[in-house]
Amino acid sequence: MLTIDNLHARVGQQSILKGLNLQIKPGEVHAIMGPNGAGKSTLSYLLSGRDGYEVEGGSVQFMDDDLLEMEVEDRARHGLFLAFQYPVEIPGVSNMEFMKESVNAIREQRGEEPLSAAEFLKKAKEACKQVQLPLDFLKRGVNEGFSGGEKKRNEIMQMILLEPKLCILDESDSGLDIDALQVVASGVNSQRNSERSFLVITHYQRLLDYIKPDFVHILANGKIVKSGDASLALKVEKEGYAFLGIEATEEASS
């Protein structure tokens, strides 16, 4: 699904990723943890293709393609989905309109017919229920006036509708109360299957109680310094990162 090989990247003059390696196979759930400034968000933006992140070396293979050569929208159309840490508002554009365009752009890429308004509405309503958002959220502007928790649930709703191949969740648990966290987690779990992979970026082990990872990686100073199974997250939770000999680097942007 995804192979990251010796990836080096910087933001401005600051090197953030310094030789990152990671391989994700279809159906696997990988969690990435790490102290502030380790490069977690940089990794998610780099994979999704945001401007301002410069690759200095290494490669990223996404299925059959060289991911780093692809435009942002092409990555999305080929099945890469990023659930944003801070979803932005798009005033006046209804959630429904936005997601319908999005779903149909991705369907077009797959060589499928666009969904009719009625077909889309049916799917959207189901997705809405799955993340426990009232149906009127479909009519509201994208993230317009949503609470933090509602925004995160809205991201998961989009993920459900878009049926991506690789889902990157960038701190989807931040700012959530326990109920909202469970809703988000069950939305994610409902989408797990043998084809779909997940990269879950989080600060806290708590999320991993609900989304059970196959692998846990600790990212520090731009590298994966330790990998293991779910128990690694529990150990970090208990002992902090100190046992790995890591201290948070303050100057790096997260």
Partner: protein, 478 residues
């Protein structure tokens, strides 16, 4: 095909028949004689000529206004031809079948499917090609309801009393430089009269176009809604590419008698000029309506065209409890300049007005909102709410807001809200991450920004307006 049309249109009139559209065009220049000739061409009564000449003499004494935030080369009024009419119009067609097919093809090329509109939308289309109305449809159906909808040149012949009473009653002959010029040389336009208590059975629509090089367009529209009546009027226009700047100075007057309501919607898409702003239309428009007791006038405009726009659709809220509304989307790109807004003149008690203005600037354009809210001494309890939002695309364009508020009544309330925002990187990134390309993303964000205004437009117009924005924004990303 296009070349043939262009050739035909740029050809000078020669005696005899040719298969393409010909025009009878006056030589450039303006003097009393030109006005007399226009009036004679139209077979106008003496009082109309008199009216025009008075306007002309006022105009001669006036100065072209310079207060707007617009920069354009000095207009040489003697270099403009003041009359142009499609030749085949001497014998007026009774139906579209009789209309020059060449003309209809030009319309179709511009995406104005006249036939479709007639059948599907039930819209009566008063087509204006250059200066003379070509075809007026659905006249019969309107007649049944007692509605008069015809070219103003015809109204001058057939309904002189109505025209005499209301022409210039809202926008006086010497109101401003461009209105005075229009009053002197206007060639045609629409006239609408809705009798007492009648709800006009269909939306009335006029498509204006400029098609003759170097010919100023001086449209004159007069709409009178008698007591308790209702009418919705749609005005839309597109224009083909031109090399030289074209002057357009229209006047629109609306009269809403007691308890009447007029809804006036415009989609304006004049040629904006090339990337350097060369060749676009100069659009100087005076639009104003007067509201009598309990009357209601609503202006909705979507402005995407013209090199220069100078336009302030206004309401004089004379009668108690009358209501004025102005909903506007103005999009500028390339080197376009727009100075547009409204005036809400509150004279009567408990008068109310709402102004929603959405300005979008892209490229190296400049977009200004200029609005006056005036509360007169007798306007007890009057209220205004203004919302004025600007959206910037890129970093070389400008958005400006010039609100004027005058309150002479302590019980009047005026609210003004203004915002300026940019299409943000974050928004674009979100859209792209969801599979949308940059152009689609910007058009979606801009359409969302305009939603409050679009929802005021009649359905089919709103769809058209959305498409127009999308087309207009092509290439403005990156």
């Amino acid at each position: 095909m296009t070349e043939q049309i262009d050739q035909a249109l740029s050809r000078k009139y020669e005696a005899g028949f040719v298969s393409d559209i010909e025009s009878e065009t006056f030589a450039a220049g303006l003097d009393e004689d030109v006005i007399r000739r226009i009036s004679a061409m139209k077979n106008e009564p003496e009082w109309m000529l008199e009216w025009r000449l008075r306007a002309y003499h006022s105009w001669l004494k006036m100065e072209e206004p310079e207060w707007a935030h617009l920069h354009y080369p000095k207009i040489d009024y003697q270099a403009i031809s003041y009359y142009s009419a499609p030749k085949s119009m001497k014998d007026k067609p009774k139906s579209l079948d009789e209309v020059d097919p060449e003309l209809l093809r030009v319309y179709e090329k511009l995406g104005i499917p006249v036939h479709e509109q007639e059948v599907l939308a039930g819209v009566a289309v008063d087509m204006v090609f250059d200066s003379v109305s070509v075809a007026t449809t659905f006249r019969e159906k309107l007649k049944e309801a007692g509605v008069i909808f015809c070219p103003i040149s015809e109204a001058i012949q057939n309904y002189p009393e109505l025209v005499k009473k209301y022409l210039g009653s809202v926008v006086p002959r010497s109101d401003n430089y461009f209105a005075a010029l229009n009053s002197a040389v206007f060639t045609d336009g629409s006239f609408v009269y809705i009798p007492k208590g009648v709800r006009c059975p269909m939306e009335l629509s006029t498509y204006f176009r400029i098609n003759e090089q170097n010919t100023g367009q001086f449209e004159r529209t007069l709409i009178v809604a008698d007591e308790g009546s209702y009418v919705s009027y749609l005005e839309g226009c597109t224009a083909p590419q031109r090399d030289e700047n074209q002057l357009h100075a229209a006047v629109v007057e609306l009269v809403a008698m007691d308890d009447a309501k007029i809804k006036y919607s415009t989609v304006q898409n004049w040629y904006p000029g090339d990337e350097d702003g060369k060749g676009g239309i100069y659009n100087f428009v005076t639009k104003r309506g007067i509201c009598h007791t309990n009357a209601h006038i609503s202006w909705t405009q979507v402005e995407t065209g013209s090199a220069v726009t100078w336009k302030y659709p206004s309401c004089v809220l004379k009668g108690d409890n009358s209501v004025g509304e102005f909903y506007s989307v103005a999009l500028t790109r390339g080197r376009q300049q727009a100075d547009t807004g409204t005036k809400m003149i509150h004279l009567g008690k408990n008068t109310r007005s709402t102004i929603i203005s959405k300005g979008i600037s892209a490229g190296r354009s400049n977009n200004s909102y200029r609005g006056l809210v005036h509360m007169g001494p007798k306007a007890d309890g009057a209220r205004n709410f203004t919302e004025c939002d600007s959206l910037l695309i890129g970093d070389r364009c400008g958005a400006h807001t010039f609100p004027y508020i005058e309150s002479r009544n302590p019980t009047a309330k005026v609210e003004h809200e203004a915002t300026t925002s940019k299409v943000s990187e974050d928004q674009l990134f979100l859209c792209k991450q969801r599979g949308l390309d940059a152009e689609k993303a910007v058009s979606m964000i801009v359409n969302g920004f305009c939603k409050e205004v679009f929802k005021e437009l009649p359905m089919e117009f709103a769809v058209e307006a959305g498409k127009l924005l999308e087309i207009s924004l092509e290439g403005s990303v990156g």
